[in-house]
């Protein structure tokens, strides 16, 4: 389950690098589209982690009681 947290941080790191790339003027229109799409996906993923309940995790924690 630690990978859950890593992937949030990884996503944010990737978003930061996308921002850095996009801020350098020399991007091709097609590359730009691809980056924007990727960024949207990452942002959606992050938001999901923040706002949407992960039932699997809930169950894992609940089951800890029975150890």
């Amino acid at each position: 389950m630690a990978k859950k947290e890593k992937s949030y941080n990884e996503s944010v790191a990737e978003l930061k690098s996308i921002l850095a790339r996009v801020e350098k003027e020399e991007m091709d229109v097609d590359d730009l589209s691809a980056e924007v799409k990727k960024a949207s996906e990452l942002i959606a993923l992050c938001r999901e982690k923040l706002f949407k309940a992960d039932e699997e995790l809930k169950n894992v924690l609940k089951d800890l009681e029975h150890e």
Binding site: M1, A2, K4, E5, Y8, N9, V12, L15, K16, I18, L19, V22, E23, E25, M27, V29, L32, V36, A39, I43, C46, R47, K49, L50, F51, K52, A53, D54, L57, K58, V60, L61, L64
Partner: protein, 415 residues
Amino acid sequence: MTEAREIFSLFELNQAVREAVKLQLPNRYWIRAELSEVHPNRNGHCYLEFIEKDDSNRQIIAKSRGIIFANTFVLLKSYFEEQTGTAFTAGIKVLVSVSVDFSEVYGISLRVWDIDPNFTLGDMARKRAEIIRRLEEEGVLDLNKELEIPSLCQRIAVISSSTAAGYGDFCNQLENNAYGFVFYTKLFPAIMQGERTEASIIEALEKIYVHADLFDVVVLIRGGGATSDLNSFDSYLLAANCAQFPLPIISGIGHERDETVIDHVAHTRVKTPTAAAAFLIEQQAHTLGELEFLQRGIAHRIQSLQQQRHALIENICQRLTYIANFKTKTMLSNLETIRTSFAVAVSCFSTGKKHDLAMMEQYVQLVSPENILKKGYALVLKNNKIVKSVNGIQVGDDLQVRMADGSVDVKSIKK
């Protein structure tokens, strides 16, 4: 052989001791001691046991029973607990004013008349300072504080008493947070006051440790209360455990006054369970803010690039249009000029030609024989052929002289 010895009864001996004590120690005395047992009774009296340990704190070098009678105890207890913020229980060191009672049946008993809470406070502070110094020496004091609270901080291991109101408030607040963040909490119940606090919390920490990868932080909370009993949290063992725990610990043990050692070693200290929940929600809000910042940054950049591209294309379009217009105008203008010149040329040409024609006509007319004849010239013909030279004429030839208005036959007479 019988010896003459004085025999006393036990009662007589004890009486003598009682007298001696009354004589030697008639007053009240302030003594400092540790409470090793505290037993409030149904009848309102409080039965105590005082001890004193040697410098190594291992050997008991003195022990005595004590009592606080009901009417004193009621006042003393509330005064003490209010002043120190800690419960009047076993384990604390006190400074009390006592009188020495001796009863034949029960032996020595120290009757407590008064207490100085500052001594206990001072002792508590000293103990705390000692623990902190020791932890610092061992290099573990700041370990927990050096941990980082993760960006995504939503899996919370809670150490609390399940019955404490504080725990309920904490969970409620997290569940109903205004942002809609999702949190996952798991309670690891523990005793949060009294002597068993240390062992109970350490046990809870150990349970969490086994599953440390399932959690982001540990929250240690309990509700406030009249008797906060901070003392149980001033434990070296508990502090050492907390300091070296691999997850950040948020301590919200619910008191305003002092800091316990746990507050010193925990990553973050908050005043109440509610404040702990607020802290966690704030962390997530910060994370969300970061995310939105990135989102806006990218969106803004994209928009800016789009605008730039747009502007560039617009610009090129405009310039092309302008150039096209300009060139067209120029060409039209040139064409017009050519047309005009041509028209002029044509006009001149025809005028010229007309003029030439007129000139020619005039000329032709001028040189036409009729015109010349009219001028007075005459044509001389011989045998109907025009003669231009006198050599072609012999004397006596028959000639014809043609003039403008007719002809005359003549003969040449003389040359």
